[in-house]
Amino acid sequence: MKIEIQITPHHIEPTHGFASEFTGVAGAIADFSGVVRGEENGEAIAALEYEAFSPMAENEMRRILASLAESFPCLAARVIHRVGIIPAGDIAIQVNILARHRDAAFATLSGFMNRLKQDVPIWKRRALPLRPPAAQHADKSAPAVRPHKHIPSVDEALEAIRSHVSSLHPVATQLEQAGGRILLETVYAQEDLPTTDRSTRDGFAILQGDSSPVFRVVDTLYAADWKPRQLKTGEAVRVATGSAMPCENLRVVMQEDVERGGDSLKILSPDSSDNVRRRGAEMSAGQPILTAGTRLNAGALSLLATIGCTRPKVSPRLKVLHFLTGDELVSPDQKPMPAQIRDSNSIFIRGCMQPFPAELRQQRLPEDFERAKTVVIDQRPGIDSADVLLISGGASVGDKDFTRKLLEFLGFQTVFQRVNVRPGAPFIFGVAGRRIAFGLPGNPLSHFVTWHAFVTVALARLTGGTPPVFSRGTLASDLPDAGSPRETLWPARCQISEGKLELTPLRWNSSGDVTCLADANALIRVPVNIAELKAGAPVEFTSF
């Protein structure tokens, strides 16, 4: 039987089979991945640390496989065991067994794992808790939730969100899945780039300062060649654009500037430039390349690929659960009866979530607390594993507005249940440990405003991104009747005009007004009790 054993400190990718020489002979391939679970003795853990007496462990594994082969003949077996700190969710052991028939493959796999756990000198040394012990202690001794006694202002509500929401635990993620996520570690260059001096022209490399009348061409390099040699005075090497230079202290004479006869070469016009991109010109080893907090766009991903950082630590995919309430709502593809309206909030949330790598689940809730309770009890595991719970509608204080009651039934503590803002005053924020919940007012405009003013800040905090902030701009047209005893977040169109950020307020009459939603890309802050704002007035705004 062919046996391969490896003990490694590195990440293990799950594999299917191996030993392609048995293709057509093996009728059974048993692949097993032993994965570190996220809990140990009931406590959430971040990782396990393993230790091995490697030479003996390898021998023991080999011995066990050989002894099993006497009873269950197999064609090949490969075992890779990782040691050191292994994050939860990563593979600790990968086993691939190839046999002619499945009985032998299964028996070998199962027998091997059982005997590994008895005889192979590998130890789980310690579990690394998910959070530092100090933070855990603080969580238990003092409830982290600080409910608001009065109705908070916009600033107070934002501060409450910022102080209750922190970034989720980073996950090492393959580049293919990392697009759009937030980098949560600073990435440093592991090596110089370029790794050698490289030619930027098609031409001839010669020693710097070499003024020989005639050069002898001693070698030819193509773009992918790596042929180190120390050039001597009077020697030249033919290079292509991108060629790795054979040694340091060379320059490249462009091929247009030489006269060539067989192996000899004359330089016609002495060019002062080197035509060489020096080792480390782009980055040198140890230099920070991307800082924590960067959103990984296509350019950032290609930079990470260039430096070989293939599993950056990034924000996890958010798990978002959206409940929609409101018996008056019908699906957008239906014609509403006189007392009904089409549901626009579901597709709004889906659209808003698009920039966030997230799993979004959406579901209707009956507009009756007892019936809604039976639905959420049924959905409890999904609700408890969601990072963000959103409930649209039912946030006010009417008979059927049960969002707050429902959140508390689900274990959330209410931080505030109203904000001194219009539109969108009935806006609820609750927390349960690291999970957060929002109750958004069902009126589409209020829903729109509270999402952009508050929920986006929480999502940015959760993913480690940069939360939106208020900037300064200029009002493009008069805003009459602006005054209200509540601060107003006025939907507006933000554009750059003659180098200035100008805000055009959009018309809206009631919080059910939806015509301005498609045009709005900003919210203007209109302070409390202002009679009117004239065109040209400085305003604060947030844009999206």
Binding site: E51, F53, P55, I93, M113, K117, D119, P121, W123, R125
Partner: protein, 79 residues
């Protein structure tokens, strides 16, 4: 005799390796006597720990000499 310590035994002794001078050929329990004489804090581990001689588990017939490398293997937990 060169002795390698792992996992909780390494933690208890505070070192990963020990050297103990022995003469002649010793069986497992004699080796333990030498180890405990050198490191009394390891006495509680004798019952749960297997000895390996030069990378293979020892049994009741194994004899150890001063030239051997001995590993103290507490209960394993790999996989």
């Amino acid at each position: 005799m060169h002795i390698l310590l792992f996992a909780q035994i390494k933690d208890a002794a505070g070192v990963a390796e020990l050297d103990v001078k022995i003469s002649g050929q010793l069986n497992s329990s004699d080796v333990w006597k030498q180890i405990i004489a050198s490191r009394p804090e390891l006495a509680p581990y004798q019952k749960i720990t297997r000895l390996a001689r030069n990378g293979e588990y020892a049994d009741s017939h194994t004899r150890f000499t001063d030239a051997d490398e001995v590993a103290l293997i507490p209960p394993v937990s790999g996989g």
